[in-house]
Amino acid sequence: MKESLMDVVCCPLDKADLELDADDRDEEEILAGTLTCTECGEAYPIEDGIPNLLPPDMREEASA
């Protein structure tokens, strides 16, 4: 994901701001890391450049 995506995403649960923590990035984008809600503390993974912003209960179901 490009850092500019931060302008349009929020926590799916409470719509609060997310904080970006990048573990791996190239010149253009973040390839791996975590987006953490500044309000409820829920963490959303970024894997292979794609953030998974499903609410936790749906995330479990989707990875099955």
């Binding site: 994901m1 490009k2 500019s4 995506l5 302008d7 349009v8 995403v9 929020c10 926590c11 799916p12 719509k15 959303y44 292979d48 450049g49 794609i50 953030p51 998974n52 912003l53 499903l54 609410p55 749906m58 989707a62 990875s63």
Partner: protein, 197 residues
């Protein structure tokens, strides 16, 4: 990993993704036509599937497009087309006033609950018993993420119940206008442009 291995892995992965991701069809073509004509500013495609519509809008109009899908395979397919892919439930993780245009080709086929087959293709096609199971929550929330003056492009099939969808559109506080319409042997497809009433 050698280059050849990488290519083979990518092909295998892409093949695997293709099998579980909705591929562009007539409805995609129609939504793309409308979106290329009407979209502006920052664009979100909900339920992007293969990312084909999103990529077309991005390329032909030179706009920033985000493609979201419940299906991680779809988000990956969209990313491979150069679209910013996000795994999401409809508009849930997007900010208030974030987008100038939101496009959605919803899963719209009415499906008998006894016949649901519970895989990614079903998620891509089935609109539940009414055919409107995803359209309803989408319309209820899309106004939140739409910037002032923004437009929603929603594909509606006659199989889903045109009048019933219009009632939901009205209830959500939007005016509607048909941008493109095409008849096929089993259904008529219309792309509606929705703007705040």
């Amino acid at each position: 990993m050698t280059g050849a291995d990488t290519a083979a892995d990518l092909a295998a992965r892409r093949g695997a993704d293709d099998a579980v991701v909705y591929q562009p069809a007539e409805d995609s073509g129609l939504l793309a036509e409308a979106a290329v004509e009407v979209a502006r500013g920052r664009v979100l495609e909900v339920g992007t599937g293969s990312g084909w519509v999103a990529a077309k809008v991005a390329a032909e109009r030179d706009l920033d497009v985000v493609g979201s899908d419940l299906n991680p395979h779809a988000a990956r397919a969209a990313r491979e087309r150069g679209v910013e892919g996000v795994v999401a439930d409809l508009c849930a993780p997007f900010r208030e006033n974030a987008f100038d245009a939101v496009c959605f080709n919803p899963p719209y086929l009415p499906t008998d609950p006894d016949n649901e087959w519970d895989d990614w293709m079903e998620h891509a096609l089935s609109g539940g018993e009414s055919g409107r199971e995803l359209i309803e929550p989408f319309l209820a929330d899309v106004g939140r993420v739409l910037a002032p003056g923004g437009v929603v492009l929603l594909l509606v099939s006659s199989l889903t119940g045109y009048d019933e969808v219009l009632a939901l559109v009205d209830e959500a506080g939007f005016d509607h206008e048909a941008v493109v319409e095409e008849s096929f042997p089993f259904e008529t497809l219309t792309v509606l442009a929705l703007r705040r009433a």
